[in-house]
């Protein structure tokens, strides 16, 4: 550089000197800038690298929830009564569509029925989070599915996939028991939040359903399972770029719930109701298993899975026979004459001789009022057996105040009325068992214009199952089971197992406080109802299954009060003014296994004509499904081969229910000598109830 020419002019020199200093300043500024940027880089890339790495990972990876397959609901024999079926559906992702309106126009050409729902689709799509697919149509036919897939390339943001939808193969048969599933709504989510729990993210998944009624609701947590997740790599637009297999978690399927119900019985029950309205419960006398719990008319729960159209919902809700109401456990009815066993047991408990006779002249004058027997001409002289057999009201009018309302109420409660049972699902009514205490409490609670004292005249109504008394079909079945069992206060059971784990049977049933003699009298009366030619239900309760016969009791209950001067009008003119028909029964009457209670709401006729034949058909189905019963029916009957039922049926060893194994086995050890089978209508002699000899 020494060879470079020097500067000659002072001004030029000054210019150059100033320039060099300033250039140095510019260089220094640049260097400082570089250092500052380097410092910033170090801060971001060295000091805070960890934080930003996390943020980048959050950007890059998404956890896509995989809904778990919902647990199935099975009947006692493993028949699926609520399962899952594949369903093709179309989803729209708003942020992947170029223009939602245009996309829906095109989609409307492929799936014409989306045109009508367009407004609600747009609302759903706009309400959903970005990039989350919103189902716009489920249950596509294969053709529709193929069509959407074919045009998928021209419809960005539209995809068709397959998921699982809830399916109830028996339609309405189980609608009230197992309920249905539906899309979680804001209230469901709020309920979870109010309970202080974290709302599972899967609830927001399109297509996820939660239980809304019955078993689906009560066991929702078990049926739901646990959502799995796929860790996927996404780009900035939320599109899945790759799946990270290592980071995926498979979903845990929901647990299966096994019920004690029998699908065949259930279906048959709904069938025999036809268009009639009512409820029916069948129980296993020995262990309380509910084989049938049906409410008619019913509805198809499959309609509710995808969101029930409001027109259908209105039609169901407005129909006067109330298909949405569960008439087996929620609807309560006056029991009518089916309550007379209870009254009879109360009479016996009060020390009244069952041989005591009351002459029925067609009514009973009590105070200023005549209480009429259903048979206008009167039954003549009645003892307890014939009073039950003929369902004579006068007999019970006459004697009931000697037992007293509180004794009747106590017996009613011992037999299972006035309470709700732990059967695992909600929606039971406990009904009303009137007593003096009840009336006091009721009067106080309602400020009813009455002093709250019980009048003996009210007892008369209750004694024949009217008045304030109200029961549901399940309670009637429990009552019948307990009378049939005789020893234990059988408790109903609906859920057999959850997730392969057997639900424990009700803890050892309590003892019933009734003596065998008293129960025998009542049971004999019931046997006579069904099998004595003069019984109220003789014609309509013959099973035709060999020597297996029912013991039952009919009931016809007034459905409403008639005010003074008001006419009932032409009989059966108006459905809602008709009487209720009831029938309770157990079979076989000589070794009870199954109890049935059936209510026909506002039946055209009465218990013997409308309820008993239905109960008979259902009971037939139950009995024919029981291999022991079949063996008994199909067995040839050489007289000498007839052994006591308890032994030759072979179930004495296993016992009818867990709690009676001990005494039964001990008692059977010396087999009783063969004895001739008692005549069906026989009312005396030891009867091998429940395969057990009398204590």
């Amino acid at each position: 550089m020494s060879s470079e020419p020097s500067i000659f002019f002072s001004d030029t020199n000054e210019r150059q000197g100033s320039f060099l200093r300033r250039t140095f300043v510019i260089g220094a500024i640049t260097a400082v800038g570089g250092v500052a940027l380097t410092g910033r880089l170090a801060q971001l890339q060295v000091v805070q690298a960890g934080e930003y790495a996390t943020l980048a990972t959050n950007n890059q990876f998404n956890f896509r929830l995989v809904p778990p397959p919902r647990g199935r609901i099975l009947d006692r024999n493993g028949v699926v009564i609520a399962g899952n079926r594949p369903s093709f559906r179309v989803l729209v992702v708003r942020d992947e569509t170029k223009d939602l309106d245009q996309t829906l126009d095109l989609l409307g050409r492929l799936l014409p029925d989306t045109v009508d729902r367009r407004r609600s689709i747009i609302r759903d799509v706009n309400a959903a989070p970005r990039f989350s697919p919103v189902p716009v149509k489920s249950d596509l036919t294969w053709e529709e599915f193929a069509r959407v897939n074919l045009y998928a390339n021209e419809l960005p943001g539209v995809m068709a996939d397959m998921n699982e939808a809830r399916f109830y193969p028996f339609g309405g048969s189980f609608a009230h028991v197992i309920g249905y599933v539906a899309k979680p709504n804001d209230r469901d989510i709020k309920a979870i939040e109010d309970a202080g729990e974290k709302v599972p993210e899967i609830l927001y998944n399109p297509g996820f359903r939660i239980g809304r009624q019955g078993v689906e609701k009560a066991f929702d947590r078990d049926l739901r399972g646990e959502a799995g997740g796929n860790r996927v790599e996404v780009d900035a637009r939320g599109r899945v770029v790759a799946e990270d297999v290592g980071g995926s978690k498979p979903p845990v399927p929901g647990k299966d719930v096994v019920l004690t119900l029998d699908a065949d019985v259930q279906n048959r029950a709904l069938e025999v109701f036809g268009e009639e309205s009512g409820g029916c419960v069948v129980m296993d006398v020995r262990n309380g298993d509910i084989l049938c719990m049906v409410s008619a008319p019913s509805f198809d729960p499959n309609l509710f899975v995808g969101g029930v159209p409001s027109s259908i919902y209105r039609a169901l809700a407005d129909y006067e026979r109330l298909p949405l109401l569960d008439k087996a456990i929620y609807g309560t009815f006056p029991p009518g004459s089916t309550f007379k066993m209870t009254t009879a047991l109360a009479l016996l408990d009060a020390g009244i001789d069952p041989k005591e006779r009351v002459v029925c002249t067609g009514g009973y004058r009590f105070g200023a009022r005549t209480f009429r027997c259903w048979k206008a001409g009167g039954h003549g002289a009645m003892d307890m057996h014939s009073a039950i057999k003929n369902s004579c009201d006068t007999y019970f009018y006459h004697l009931c105040n000697r037992a007293g309302i509180d004794r009747i109420a106590r017996v009613a409660e011992d037999l299972g009325f006035g309470q709700a049972y732990e059967i695992g699902i909600a929606g039971q009514s406990s009904g009303t068992v009137p007593s003096t205490r009840w009336k006091r409490a009721y009067t106080e609670a309602t400020s009813w214009d009455d002093d709250g004292t019980w009048y003996p005249g009210e007892t008369l109504s209750v004694a024949i199952g009217q008045g304030a008394l109200s029961v549901n079909a399940l309670q009637l079945a429990v009552m019948t089971s307990r009378i049939a069992h005789g020893r234990k206060a059988v408790q109903p059971r609906l859920v057999k197992a959850v997730g392969g784990e057997a639900r424990p049977q009700a803890p050892a049933f309590a003892d019933l406080p009734f003596s065998d003699q008293h129960l025998d009298i009542v049971r004999a009366g019931m046997a006579a109802v069904a099998n004595d030619v003069t019984g109220t239900a003789y014609r309509t309760s013959q099973l035709g299954l060999g020597d297996i016969q029912m013991a039952g009791k009919t009931g016809t209950a007034q459905s409403r009060d008639y005010k003074a001067g008001e006419s009932r009008g032409p009989r059966n003119a108006q459905w809602s003014r008709r009487d209720h028909a009831l029938f309770v029964a157990f079979a076989p009457h000589d070794a009870p296994r199954y109890a049935i209670a059936l209510i026909v709401q506002h039946a055209p006729s009465g218990g013997s004509v409308d309820a008993a034949p239905k109960a008979r058909e259902i009971m037939k189905t139950v009995l024919l499904k029981d291999p022991d019963m079949r063996a008994r029916i199909e067995r040839p009957l050489p007289p000498e081969a007839v052994a006591p039922v308890g032994v030759d049926e072979g179930d004495a060893g296993s016992g009818p229910g867990g709690e009676v194994v001990g005494p039964a086995a001990a008692a059977v050890a010396p087999p009783p000598p063969p004895a001739p089978r008692p005549a069906p209508a026989a009312t005396s002699g030891p009867r091998p109830y429940l395969s057990e000899p009398p204590r």
Partner: protein, 385 residues
């Protein structure tokens, strides 16, 4: 090449001599940066030459030849062309504003459609401004450059294009024009006191300017810079994602082609303004620091070249070009690191984009020409053309 050889008459004007006088360090660093740019463009296209990397390399190759060619051009030609070029570009900028040939792209009316080609005159305006100012200062004394009424002329030369470009509105370019002009006035010897007063006035003018003159989107950018988390999915998105890309790169980076922020398109404008973040993500602190060092190296070498020039025109022109280049680097760097608002200034030679590359390469042609012809003297007060 010996010193004695250079003293022989005519020796310096030989092409072969000129070529050996080129500063190969600068050429090498420019090639390195452009190569890194092409590699990153290849990476973010998912390992494809299309649509960016191939273009980038071809443009660079062409411009490299142009640059080396311009380096052989004697400064007197640059000197003679300075005012006409400035005038022409000013006319083009005016044409954008006042003729239908200008059209809008990306929110700003900054393109000119000349039928054959479409250009952004604002880019070349920076170049023209450097040359014009250099020529003006060449003809004026130190005293005049420090503080005199004649400074109104260079101030007008800066202010006119600044206002026109700001009106387009292309605030990034306007800012670069203003700052480059300011840097040249400073280099030429503007009084410190005047500078301090001007800086104070500018600082005082910024808040009202931001609040009342700027367009909404520009104001948003500034406000977003001050608090990017206020609207993470909207205007703050770019800065946040860029910082995530940088930070998650760590010390050694995620590896070439493995930057999730860039590859999965979380990083916006990743092939243009935010390409530095991609480098930083895939090569970490080591890579980004190395790249920054290359830029600073080029700037310091270029300033040294400027200081060696015998003509005041050469000094001012080379230093002005360097200041212009340095502004790009520092503003873009600060922007991607979340230290400056998003203003749409690319990283020279790294970002994809033809206008910016052309300007920068022509500018370095001028710098290299200054180096090659560092002994050339230019007469003072030469005629206008």
């Amino acid at each position: 090449m010996t010193a004695s050889a250079l003293t022989r008459p005519g020796e310096r004007d030989r092409l072969s001599t000129k070529i050996t006088e080129l500063d190969w360090r600068i050429v090498g660093l420019l090639c390195l940066i452009a190569g890194v740019g092409a590699a990153m463009l290849y990476s973010i296209a998912g390992g494809q030459w299309q649509p960016w990397a191939a273009d980038h390399l071809i443009r660079f190759g062409v411009m490299l030849v142009v640059m080396l060619g311009l380096a052989m051009v004697h400064p007197k030609w640059w000197f003679r062309g300075a005012y006409p070029l400035y005038g022409l570009l000013l006319i083009l900028v005016l044409m954008i504003e006042f003729t239908p040939l200008g059209y809008v792209a990306g929110g700003a009316r900054n393109w000119l459609n000349l039928g054959v080609i479409r250009i952004q005159p604002a880019e070349f305006m920076k170049l023209g401004l450097v040359l014009a100012l250099a020529r003006w200062y060449h003809s004026h004394s130190a005293q005049e450059a420090r503080w005199s009424w004649k400074l109104l002329i260079p101030a007008a030369m800066i202010g006119l294009p600044f206002l026109l470009v700001a009106k387009q509105p292309d605030l990034g370019s306007a800012m670069i024009i203003g700052l480059t002009g300011g840097a040249i006035m400073f280099l030429a010897g503007l009084s410190w006191r005047v500078m301090a007063a001007a800086a104070a006035a500018a600082a005082a003018a910024i808040p009202p300017f931001v609040m009342f003159v700027m367009h909404d989107y520009q104001r948003n950018r500034v406000l977003t810079f001050l608090n990017p988390e206020a609207d993470p999915s909207g205007t703050g998105y770019n800065i946040i994602q860029s910082k995530i890309a940088l930070g998650s790169g760590g010390v050694l980076g995620k590896g070439y082609g493995l930057g999730s922020q860039s590859q999965l398109e979380f990083l916006p404008e990743r092939h243009t303004d935010f390409i530095f973040s991609t480098v930083a993500e895939e090569f970490g602190f080591v890579g980004s620091f190395g790249l920054l060092a290359c830029y600073v190296g080029i700037i310091l070498i270029a300033l040294r070249i400027a200081s060696l020039a015998h003509s005041h025109f050469g000094r001012i022109a080379a230093a002005g070009m360097t200041a212009f280049f340095a502004l790009f680097v520092l503003i873009n760097g600060a922007m991607v690191m979340g230290l400056a608002p998003v203003v749409g200034v690319p990283m020279p030679l790294l970002s994809y984009g033809g206008s910016s590359m052309m300007t920068v390469m022509i500018g370095f042609g001028l710098v290299l020409s200054t180096r090659v012809h560092r002994y050339a003297e230019l007469p003072k007060g030469q005629g206008l053309f």
